[in-house]
């Protein structure tokens, strides 16, 4: 199987280039893209990428595979056209090869104060939450912060510092909708400006690429509905 992989090592290369590789899949078993690039790394140890769980829950190995953001460990080679073109996530600074700088992505996440706030002293046991209230968090809490969505979002490309991006917006919604959180008003007030969530233009690339099948566009719409409910 043929691969074309984006290479850039700032210590050696003046500019990035695409390198061709080939793997004989009849000799070495590789099912997923991650299996393949691990085998390529065994041949060429300078090839660099992030990886950890290999089962799609840690979010390390997000990359652009044949033009589409995805996790290498759950993208099956059999679904891909040759040569398989691997590039780093678009719209983010490249550190080396397939590794991008996610600092800004994490900063946007932190801006949403992604932790439960409750001003009441906790009870001796658990805070009660009905299954219906808990169900509102489904589709929100499962985010693995891989960055596929934000890096596929044109609005995030143009305003990465001001627009939260789909991943962070999803987390904002996760806490706004949690029945145990009582900072809803503060959270909403932080989001009513023209950028934080309103820069979402419903392009829905985020929904298209999310490896966990989540829907950040809907999460943003939920915040907007809450703001409208409160603000008119």
């Amino acid at each position: 199987m043929k691969f074309s992989i984006y290479r850039y090592n700032p210590e050696v290369d003046s500019k990035p280039y695409m390198q061709n590789y080939e793997l004989d899949l009849t000799k070495t078993p590789a099912v997923m893209v991650l299996d393949a690039i691990k085998l390529l790394k065994a041949q060429d140890e300078t090839l660099s990428f992030r990886r950890s769980c290999s089962e799609g829950v840690c979010g390390s190995d997000a990359m652009n595979i044949n033009g589409r953001n995805a996790l290498a460990c759950v993208t099956s080679l059999s679904t891909l056209k040759e040569p398989v073109v691997l590039r780093p996530l678009p719209g983010m600074p490249v550190i080396r090869d397939l590794i991008v700088d996610l600092t800004n992505f994490y900063e946007q996440y932190k801006k949403t104060k992604p932790y439960l706030q409750n001003s009441q002293p906790p009870p001796a046991k658990e805070r009660l939450q009905s299954p219906e209230e808990r169900a509102k968090l489904d589709g929100l809490y499962e985010c693995i912060l891989c960055g596929c969505c934000s890096s596929a979002c044109p609005s995030y490309w143009w305003n990465p510092d001001k627009f939260l991006g789909p991943a962070a917006a999803l987390q904002a919604t996760r806490f706004i909708l949690d029945s145990r959180d009582d900072a809803t008003q503060d959270r909403l007030a932080q989001l009513e400006d023209a950028y934080s969530i309103f820069r979402c233009r419903s392009i829905m690339n985020c929904v298209d690429v999310c490896p966990k099948g989540l829907n950040p566009t809907k999460a943003i719409a939920d915040i907007r509905d809450k703001l409208i409910e409160d603000g008119v």
């Binding site: 090592n9 700032p10 210590e11 050696v12 099912v31 790394k41 065994a42 140890e45 300078t46 660099s48 990428f49 992030r50 990886r51 950890s52 769980c53 290999s54 089962e55 799609g56 829950v57 840690c58 979010g59 390390s60 759950v74 099956s76 550190i95 080396r96 090869d97 590794i99 996610l102 994490y106 932190k110 104060k113 992604p114 932790y115 439960l116 409750n118 906790p122 001796a124 046991k125 658990e126 805070r127 009660l128 939450q129 009905s130 299954p131 209230e133 808990r134 968090l137 809490y141 499962e142 693995i144 912060l145 806490f175 949690d178 145990r180 959180d181």
Partner: protein, 588 residues
């Protein structure tokens, strides 16, 4: 060599569940905490934990922590230290409520309380009252929910996080106290000395010593390697849990929760074979019991598939609504890695290496223990270990499902509390001799200056994993293990001459893999030597040449020292407040 230095009250290595629970405890106390992690915190392996966290909340059925303690002692095949098990089980409900207050999105019962499911090895009334329902869960993503919640709370508490920094080695001060750790920035290649009045190791497991494992690629036993290189021993390294239900051919885990929700195992006769091995608990017997049963079925020709090399996990009789609400993650995993929709067909499964019961010996405060020449146990000043890398020992020879997440938070918290208390006694900063720093850097310097014509790291790693898989798997025999030890010692020698062709600084993952292989090698050899030495079968350590448990000679912890020497220490059979549980024949 003079290194740039930063000082903190405490330095924590590893940002999984245990490390982040410890850092949170300290940061909330207003202490300055450095949390070092070779991956961004939410990429730590805790994220993969599926089924849940066990604690006697009694939300579904009558329960109390004494029963949980009994089950854990029995599950450990009596190798667990009963004082520590008592502490963990007693603290269980409190730490789970704390997690709930932090925002962990537990699944809920109709009355609004935390949802709990039955798990393997759980019983009511000291094994006489039938199956208990004790494991709290957030669908089948409990570890993910827990890890993200702890990371989020650490953001709030303003913990200083060194993300994508790799911890190289411990540094001692002039008095021999642990004074900090040398860390390497993966992104830039710079090294830094992180000083701390306490160092807490929370580096997780090392399942990557085996070829087939549910463990993440980052689980390379870095803490074990660091402790051994610093001259301290590790304990019970022969005890490796093989989880019964890894996806055949891939190794990814299918949670025990699938059986807790009503799933069961079938052989090629369509027989629910666990009924023969564990008439009462059946598919919810302890993991070591189920794993052995599966392998016996396969060995005796009752395996499924064209090669008869796996068994089937059936859940297609469950209500699809239950699968979609309680087990959505495993459904996706089976469809991705086994091409099977569990709502329609059974999942092909086979035991896979899952958890390291052994590790760095500690007491119930997380303080690392070492042994003097006169076999006296003493804490290593300034050094703590928590989570999977530690051996408290609460899991003994076999861990119960749902007890690992509990272990992380109970002892992460306990270590945090103990460090905070110790720091109240003001201590002036001690002197670290330059030679100590140099010594801690020798490993890195060796890899930076290798002969370019040596063997490749990847090749040696693969041979190591194959040797471990073949010679130290579920069933072990003396002769095979002795051969295995020889292979490993040769590999250890070859590793000294291996080479690194990439010596760049920026995100040199080849160098990180080389450093990790040093740790894998240390873990593998400790495992091999400890396993060969234990001449009995207990829990996960199952010998064909010594099939029975031998409490007269072997009711003791193996202690392995860095010079390949073995020693032993007694199991603590004296709980703090309750009556001890003496060893009994273990049936399910």
């Amino acid at each position: 060599m003079l290194l740039p230095t930063q000082s903190f009250d405490a330095v924590i290595i590893g940002a999984g569940g245990a490390g982040m629970r410890a850092s949170l405890q300290l940061a909330q106390n207003g202490l300055r905490v450095a949390l070092v992690s070779k991956v961004f915190p939410t990429r730590s392996h805790t994220v993969s934990a599926q089924g849940g966290i066990t604690a006697a909340l009694g939300n579904v059925d009558e329960d109390n922590w004494h029963w949980h303690m009994f089950d854990t002692v029995k599950g450990s095949d009596y190798l667990g230290d009963q004082d520590c098990i008592e502490y963990m089980c007693q603290m269980g409900p409190e730490v789970v409520y704390e997690l709930e207050h932090m925002g962990l999105p537990f699944s809920r019962l109709d009355n609004g309380k935390i949802y709990q499911r039955p798990f393997g090895g759980q019983s009511k009334n000291y094994g006489t009252g039938g199956q208990a329902t004790r494991t709290s869960a957030a669908a089948d993503r409990t570890g993910h929910a827990l890890l993200h919640t702890l990371y989020q709370k650490n953001i709030e508490a303003k913990t200083t996080i060194f993300s994508e920094w790799y911890a190289l080695n411990l540094v001692k001060d002039r008095e021999g106290r642990i004074a900090g750790v040398i860390v390497l920035s993966i992104e830039t290649g710079e090294t830094l000395f992180l000083r701390g009045n306490a160092v807490i190791l929370a580096t997780g497991g090392a399942g990557r010593i085996f070829q087939t494992t549910s463990n993440a690629l980052i689980n390379t036993g870095d803490g074990i390697g660091m402790v051994l290189r610093a001259g301290f021993p590790v304990q019970d390294m022969e005890m490796w849990q093989f989880h019964p239900t890894g996806i055949a051919g891939a190794g990814m885990l299918i949670t025990e929760g699938t059986r807790g929700e009503g799933g069961y195992l079938l052989n090629n006769q369509n027989e629910r074979f666990m009924e023969r091995y564990a008439p009462h608990a059946k598919d919810l017997a302890s993991r070591d019991v189920v794993s052995r049963a599966i392998l016996v079925e396969i060995r005796e020709g009752r395996g499924c598939g064209p090669n008869g090399d796996h068994v089937l996990l059936k859940i297609d009789h469950l209500d699809p609504k239950i699968i979609e609400s309680r087990l959505p993650g495993i459904r996706t995993l089976s469809m991705t890695f086994a091409n099977v929709d569990p709502e329609k067909e059974p999942i092909p499964v086979v035991p896979t290496c899952h958890y390291m019961m052994g590790g760095i010996p500690t007491n119930k405060f997380g303080q690392v223990l070492t042994m003097t020449s006169s076999s006296q146990e003493i804490p290593v000043p300034g050094l703590y270990a928590v989570g999977e890398c530690a051996c408290v020992s609460v899991h003994g020879a076999n861990r119960l499902g749902g007890n690992s997440l509990l272990d992380l938070v109970v002892f992460g918290r306990a270590a945090g509390l103990h460090v905070a208390e110790e720091l109240n006694q003001k201590r002036s900063q001690s002197i670290v001799p330059e030679e100590e720093i140099d010594k801690a850097l020798t490993q890195l310097n060796r890899w930076n200056n290798t002969n370019k014509k040596g063997e490749r790291v990847a090749d040696i790693r693969l041979e190591l994993q194959k040797a471990m898989q073949l010679d130290f798997g579920v069933f072990r025999t003396g002769k095979v293990m002795q051969e295995g030890i020889e292979k490993l010692k040769l590999l250890r020698e070859r590793l000294q001459h291996a080479s690194l062709t990439d010596t760049s600084h920026v995100f040199n993952t080849a160098r990180i893999e080389a450093l990790e292989l040093d740790n894998l090698m240390a873990v593998a050899i400790a495992t091999a030597i400890s396993a060969e030495a234990r001449k009995e079968s207990r829990g996960a350590h199952s010998r064909e040449d010594f099939k029975d448990r031998d409490d007269v000679h072997w009711l003791k912890h193996t202690v392995y020292f860095p010079d390949d020497k073995i020693s032993y220490r007694p199991v603590n059979m004296k709980p703090l407040t309750v009556e001890p549980f003496p060893p009994h024949v273990r049936t399910y």
